[in-house]
């Protein structure tokens, strides 16, 4: 069999984290009752007109600048005309002729090393409504709550060669958008969607094959599987001497196969033309400069800074910056505790452990940094033992509990009371005459036994150091 190379380009749709839709003042909140977030504009009523949400442009610029794009300082909206009930106007307001950003790149990292993936363009557009198929009645039902939710569509050049590169690219985009605060990029909720353009060609031939477009990919796993399957399907066709047809295919993740979507009525002639209802958008040098100046620190810079300034390891810095949300939580906590290293250890240890244990997402972690910071300080100040601190943290993680109050109420604090320590010491010594004589006889191993006994008696509220110190003092006294 011949050697084939897979050539992949992506069209990624990202829902922007605005409060309202792109052209009307309806909420973008996810999951409302059908058609409760609609108005004459986003339901395509006659006479209604679109007015552009400023924040959409702002977000698009942030994304474009982060992805090293050129900005079209005069950009415009075009209508993409096609009849389908998910689109109430039967045209989508998008950008074709003058998209907001173009010619950028981002760098990905795979097992093979680093690679630049070029971005052809980024444009603003409106999302469509949701269509569900009614099983009972053989009809479809339309909900326009998503209609008009702002999107940016990021079109890459066909620079990817494997599923691994694709996943790395998507992960990079997701991370970047989250850091920018532009989108939460959740594949399951559809706030990040990828269409895969794929073709195969004989390795080294330089002759590109016909590409297909794959839609309905709802997870990284589905994307990987769809890429493998489509690559195989195309190679099989070529091996049999059959042509690959340029078409859009719909991936069915249950069947792990795809099928052509096109029908006779889907004439793919979108008749794009400038939308006369929307004047062009002018993007001034000042606007671009302001965005550049206020662009947040992205992952790579943060990772580097954690190493340089906070003295964290390469590995810790990488893990802590994976989620923008967690990194922000970490930084706030470190700042409040004034102890970045200890804070990092808590995040690498307990925070990640609990995330994993609960099977939750880093984005959903929501305790107050001041509570963890306080807890870290309490351990340092020997007000709570490390073992008890872990228990306290579980409550902070779950319910954002105030550690100070919790320790007080549950008697978990370390005893500073010398009398109590003495009383417990005397009690333990009196109850264990045998081991005591062994200890006094010089058998050092028994020392640990007494420490353990005392800790149990004190329910962990004493610091091991204080117990050890008191015991040592007692032995000295007895030997004298």
């Amino acid at each position: 069999m011949k050697q084939y190379e897979t050539v992949i380009g992506l069209e990624v749709h990202i829902e922007l984290a605005t409060k309202t839709k792109i052209f009307c003042g309806c909420s973008t909140e996810f999951g409302g009752e059908p058609n409760t977030h609609t108005c004459p504009v986003c339901a395509g009523m006659p006479g209604a007109l679109p007015v552009l949400n400023r924040q959409v442009v702002e977000f698009a610029l942030k994304a474009g600048i982060a992805a090293n794009c050129q900005i079209n300082q005069l950009c415009r909206f075009d209508r993409k005309n096609y009849f389908y009930p998910d689109n109430p106007q039967n045209y989508q307001i998008s950008q074709l002729y003058l998209p907001v950003c173009h010619d950028g790149w981002i760098e990905i990292e795979t097992s093979a090393g680093k690679k630049k993936i070029r971005i052809h363009e980024m444009h603003m557009e409106e999302d469509a409504g949701k269509l569900i198929h009614d099983e009972w009645e053989d009809c479809s039902l339309v909900d326009y709550n998503r209609s008009g939710v702002p999107l940016i569509e990021i079109v890459s050049e066909p620079d990817m060669r494997s599923a691994e590169e694709v996943i790395s690219y998507l992960d990079k985009l997701r991370c970047m958008m989250q850091y920018l605060g532009v989108s939460d990029c959740k594949l399951q909720e559809g706030s990040m969607r990828a269409d895969v353009n794929l073709s195969v060609c004989e390795a080294g031939s330089g002759v590109w094959g016909t590409r297909t477009e794959m839609k309905n990919l709802n997870s990284f796993k589905a994307i990987t599987r769809a890429i493998e399957a489509e690559r195989e399907r195309q190679i099989e066709l070529l091996e049999m001497g059959k042509p690959v047809i340029q078409e859009t295919r719909r991936w069915d993740d249950n069947k792990e196969s795809s099928r052509a979507m096109r029908s006779k009525e889907d004439a793919r002639d979108y008749r794009y033309f400038p939308d006369p209802d929307l004047p062009p958008v002018h993007i001034s040098d000042e606007w671009i400069q302001r965005i550049r100046n206020t662009q947040p620190e992205l992952r790579e810079e943060k990772q580097q800074r954690y190493q340089d300034e906070l003295g964290l390891s390469d590995y810790d810095a990488r893990v802590l910056t994976e989620s923008a949300h967690l990194a922000a939580l970490f930084e706030k906590t470190a700042e409040l505790s004034q102890n970045p290293k200890k804070t990092a250890a808590w995040f690498m240890g307990e925070v990640l452990r609990l995330i994993k244990e609960y099977g939750t997402e880093p984005e959903k972690v929501c305790f107050s940094p001041k509570h963890l910071a306080r807890l870290i300080c309490m351990v340092e100040e020997k007000k709570v033992s490390p073992a008890n601190a872990k228990k306290v943290f579980e409550h902070i993680f779950d319910e954002d509990t105030d550690p100070e109050a919790f320790v007080r109420e549950h008697g978990l604090g370390i005893v500073q009371d010398a009398d109590l320590l003495q009383r417990v010491l005397q009690k333990v010594l009196a109850e264990n005459p045998g081991p005591l004589s062994e200890l006094l006889g010089g058998k050092e191993k028994v020392f640990g036994f007494f420490v353990g006994q005392m800790m149990r008696e004190l329910k962990g509220t004493a610091s091991p150091e204080a117990v050890r110190e008191a015991l040592m003092e007692e032995i000295k006294k007895n030997r004298r």
Binding site: T18, N53, R54, L141, P274
Partner: protein, 97 residues
């Protein structure tokens, strides 16, 4: 020479416009369209070399709205117009399958 509006073109235009014209009406529409296109080709005589297409006469200033929710639940008012609804949604013939 004017573009000839043949049957295939007519069919394609009807497909794009979601219209189905039959028989006489279709023939009349074809003839009218032919006449119109032949007429508008007068534009070919106008030298537009170096002229930028003008889509918007005004538009030197940005027009934005702020990102603030101003609409409440208008579901009933929206669905009130629909020829057919079901479970608070617009009812359409099956779209997939």
């Amino acid at each position: 020479m004017a573009k000839i509006i043949d049957d295939e073109t007519m069919e394609n235009v009807c497909l794009l416009a979601k219209l189905s014209l039959e028989g006489e009406e279709r023939e009349a529409a074809r003839a009218e369209m032919q006449k119109m296109l032949t007429y508008v080709e007068k534009l070919d005589q106008l030298d537009t070399e170096g002229t930028e297409p003008l889509s918007h006469i005004f538009g030197s200033e940005n027009v934005f709205r702020e990102d603030e929710i101003v609409n409440g639940n208008q579901k009933d008012a929206m669905l009130f117009h629909a020829p057919r609804t079901k479970d608070g949604q617009y009812h359409v013939p099956k779209t997939i399958g």
